[in-house]
Symmetry: D3
Subunit: 244 residues, 6 copies
Amino acid sequence: MNDNPWSRPSGRAADELRAVTITKDFTKHAEGSVLITFGDTQVICNASVENSVPPWLRGKGQGWVTAEYGMLPRSTGTRMRREATAGKQGGRTQEIQRLIGRSLRAAVDLSKLGERTIYIDCDVIQADGGTRTASITGAYVALGMALDKLVANGSLLESPIAQQIASISVGVYQGTPVLDLDYAEDSSAETDMNLVMTAQGTFIEVQGTAEAAPYSMAELQAMLALGQKGIAELVHIQRTALEA
Amino acid sequence: MNDNPWSRPSGRAADELRAVTITKDFTKHAEGSVLITFGDTQVICNASVENSVPPWLRGKGQGWVTAEYGMLPRSTGTRMRREATAGKQGGRTQEIQRLIGRSLRAAVDLSKLGERTIYIDCDVIQADGGTRTASITGAYVALGMALDKLVANGSLLESPIAQQIASISVGVYQGTPVLDLDYAEDSSAETDMNLVMTAQGTFIEVQGTAEAAPYSMAELQAMLALGQKGIAELVHIQRTALEA
Amino acid sequence: MNDNPWSRPSGRAADELRAVTITKDFTKHAEGSVLITFGDTQVICNASVENSVPPWLRGKGQGWVTAEYGMLPRSTGTRMRREATAGKQGGRTQEIQRLIGRSLRAAVDLSKLGERTIYIDCDVIQADGGTRTASITGAYVALGMALDKLVANGSLLESPIAQQIASISVGVYQGTPVLDLDYAEDSSAETDMNLVMTAQGTFIEVQGTAEAAPYSMAELQAMLALGQKGIAELVHIQRTALEA
Amino acid sequence: MNDNPWSRPSGRAADELRAVTITKDFTKHAEGSVLITFGDTQVICNASVENSVPPWLRGKGQGWVTAEYGMLPRSTGTRMRREATAGKQGGRTQEIQRLIGRSLRAAVDLSKLGERTIYIDCDVIQADGGTRTASITGAYVALGMALDKLVANGSLLESPIAQQIASISVGVYQGTPVLDLDYAEDSSAETDMNLVMTAQGTFIEVQGTAEAAPYSMAELQAMLALGQKGIAELVHIQRTALEA
Amino acid sequence: MNDNPWSRPSGRAADELRAVTITKDFTKHAEGSVLITFGDTQVICNASVENSVPPWLRGKGQGWVTAEYGMLPRSTGTRMRREATAGKQGGRTQEIQRLIGRSLRAAVDLSKLGERTIYIDCDVIQADGGTRTASITGAYVALGMALDKLVANGSLLESPIAQQIASISVGVYQGTPVLDLDYAEDSSAETDMNLVMTAQGTFIEVQGTAEAAPYSMAELQAMLALGQKGIAELVHIQRTALEA
Amino acid sequence: MNDNPWSRPSGRAADELRAVTITKDFTKHAEGSVLITFGDTQVICNASVENSVPPWLRGKGQGWVTAEYGMLPRSTGTRMRREATAGKQGGRTQEIQRLIGRSLRAAVDLSKLGERTIYIDCDVIQADGGTRTASITGAYVALGMALDKLVANGSLLESPIAQQIASISVGVYQGTPVLDLDYAEDSSAETDMNLVMTAQGTFIEVQGTAEAAPYSMAELQAMLALGQKGIAELVHIQRTALEA
């Protein structure tokens, strides 16, 4: 399109994450609460513990983890309609909160949780691309905080965490595979892929969508490799936050 | 109940506001954005400008101001059901957002706004009593920022602000009238009254509800006097924030 | 606007109620049923007794009083959309029925009601201003009838009525405070205030809204004084109806 | 079941209508308004004129007639849930209002109505069986009043009424065909049939449902004959009301 | 309209059914499953057995039969909006499924069914008029299959079928009474009547609606006679299918 | 779990598709209509052409393709609640129909479609695993038929198909990667992945979810290879059907 050399709108290297911060105890009521930022994307992740399970699990001696996701109406460049006013959650919202819930259930041994439900609420305060990957990554920390509290107060003998998880996006931007797309990239990327992975480098979710053009096997492999790198960095940031 | 002398749970004097802070530009997309805190109560107030009006106002050459209110599910001590999931806004939510909208329309000369709608979104991040009064007080500042921007970019010749408004609660706690109830007081007060007033000391809204027992004319007068004092302080804080 | 002396559209004195009538046993099925009229405003108030309480009160040995409000689609000058067709109650409806319910709970000692719920249905047949104040005033009589029936049939040893309540509107019309606004006044009043008070002259609710311009402390005091006068008259009319 | 001779709960003869009254101008706002009673069944029928038609009829030079039906929650022996609260109209309500609308459209030459919609609202104040037949019979009068008003004020040159219609129920009660079932009969009838007919004795609707047992051709013929007698009487009562 | 002799669009005789086929075991999961066709109208009727009853029947020792009806969006000439997307079933759908349910309950002695619910799902794959009559006629066969299975596996000692039922439409097309209207006739018929009858020739439902003009007693009698003929043929086809 | 050698419940080889059939013109009204079967999974895919586009595309000279998905209540082993009755589409339904729509838009050059919308309705008649992959694969054929018809009748000069697409599931069953999971496999698989690919072997969608345990990079690669094989076979079956 022009003869400038390729560069990302943010000037980042192709395999470079945005600045990631995790602020614990961001709100005071939740059993686990963090504000996570991926650059200008800001998400509050709250974990709430309730001493009951959904009807279909009653009496089975196991727990449940579920998630809900929302965006403030003006978290985006143009105001979106409030879903509570619209009377229902849109398809995108439901898809994202189902993904968050599935991902976090994969992090927990539900049989060790007791008959409890952990509700994860991910609310986007400011959006700049990657809200679902920030949500999952932050929610893992909020969940960990809530479980640590159950251990600390004697409700659980040991943490039911089965494996640490994190999530990042990868994509193909102007022909080059890149890590952690921001909104400027996301809205014009040829391909957008979200990965949820464990600290061991195995996969929980791979969701890759061709936006402008199908992607080749080579591009897919390049994106997977970038994702592995990004997840390793996020896992480290999560661990530092949890141990602080 | 005990023979200790009367005191408020927070130790405040009867006519003392909580610490009030207003952080401008809390999020980056909205035309006006503030985080307002009344003690532990935290509300994001975003003002969005749209260049159209509701159908019933089209072609009349005037603008509109409307508000929506929400609480994050875990802004409260016990998690509340998300209204987007429930499929509708509850009665309390609708009552509050109608109040916010009416109050802000009283602050603006709609005929000077042009055919524009200002959406005010008040989202409670953390609740500790007084969310509706904090919302109105913060929303006035967000609205002022958005209108200043319209003047600054030449869309409007002068600000359509007609009068400055703010809001505070008063009540009767253990027999004594008090200013700016927090949750510990609010949940056991005999009476709870919300005032919306102008910088000139006139009234936009008076909403006083007997919770545990009817209140006398003398108590009503004492609450009105406390409210006048609190509004004067809030008006000063708003002005300082807007001029910063 | 003109040089005629000030007068109300109805020709009433500033402190004069409209004709108020209460017809008992207006419908035959309800435990308490009245048609109340405030001039051309006509509301059917039915009280229904059910021998159960909402889930959150079960086993606590106390009762509950709740209210619902509706308007026939053509109770008004222009047909309104039927809320059952729209699929939800509007914000105004919910606000009014929450007010009616709160007001009537203040009239009853719920701990003496037993595990029963009294449903109050206020349905406006014809509207000409003041439908919420007529609803509350009539609902008190319907409630009293239903409770008297529970005493008469031995279900209760004594009436759980704690205090008699009634409701009236006051406002500022063309610069003058007036009592009991009809639609012609209400739609152009500078200020509209609804009061719910006890027979003893104490306050249950004060809800005053500036419509066209903020109101001064002097106007507020004048409106409160008018309201006291009107409530005293309504209390007498209610008592006469109940004792008939 | 016993050896008493057969009799109706009300003591009426098998071919005897309940007392039918039609009160015109029951409410003041509607273009046509009646209260119709069939014994203890009381229905307010309001006709509203709007100068527009549904989208699919725009520009076709014809009008539309549509109906809505509702019951006050305590119009019945046991309180029913308010449909506006439930968030939707039940199947029975929709079925009845579709029947009312179809029936009234059969009474009108829509091509002579101009681009207008007549809304018919039938609201049951008190129910004792036969609410849909009373609704149709009363709605015809309300419709006639509204159309007469359009002729009187010069909006229409002549009334677009094509034919007079009325409606009555017939059934088989304890083995005997009867006319105009009240609730005591309706709730235990073997068969319930609603007829909508013209003043000329032709049929608009026949809706006969076996409740407890199928009905024979002989019973069907007997019910049709009873219906013809009842319709003739209702047509006379309608005409008297309209000409009053 | 023209001087051609009268004929039906399909060329059928006035008293001639369309080709009717019943394919059993059309899907593999349901306890009873048929595809029924009335000419080009194709409906899948599935009967599902559940070992519980609705709350209001619990503990009464009897069963329940209920029906739901749907049309694929493109079962019709023009695509209809999917009701699951619209968020509710339309009035026509509810009316039809209430009719199907009532009709099938008349076919069964519910006291012999035990505390079971039979759900009948009628889903129209392709529509060409008469979908409700095909649904009822096919649903009877699916219901019979499901009940036979309960007898075969020892859950019931004998079939609770009380009487065989079927359904057909009749109408007046261009002045002549006809049997089993297809879409071309239905959309222009003066009158449309649906009959549900027993194998003994008694009536479960008669629902006749004047579409273009009221119908006379003579036309009504002619339609009833045509219906009796059609039902007799359908009863034979059902019996053949069930015994196959 | 046992010492039998590994085998699939169906006895298929690990890389073996189920029998796939495509029946064109399955229903008569739609512009493109097929019944596709993947073994016992049966889906009706109908494509409908409308000569308009959604509001946000008006006047841009391009078309739109969108999809809706549904399951008959008894398409499954246990009856599911009908979504039209529940009043909304579940999260899974929305997720699937968004996937179908995105996939088919990738197959079409929307700028060559003109201002038309193609609605794709995928309705599952019988479910045995893989309903979404069968839906996409069949929908491509229905879409192709509808577009061919637009070319044949002169509405389009050439087909706007940009590339042929198909979809298949892969997974890990008892430790072994397998192609095209049926319900018995799907409900106990460790991992389930759905692929949408082009005839050229490039990717439109990759959606892989760990069900019981995270999957390794090696398993991911094996699944991708199986998918490539399956897609190649489906592409051939589609082509044969379209050319028939």
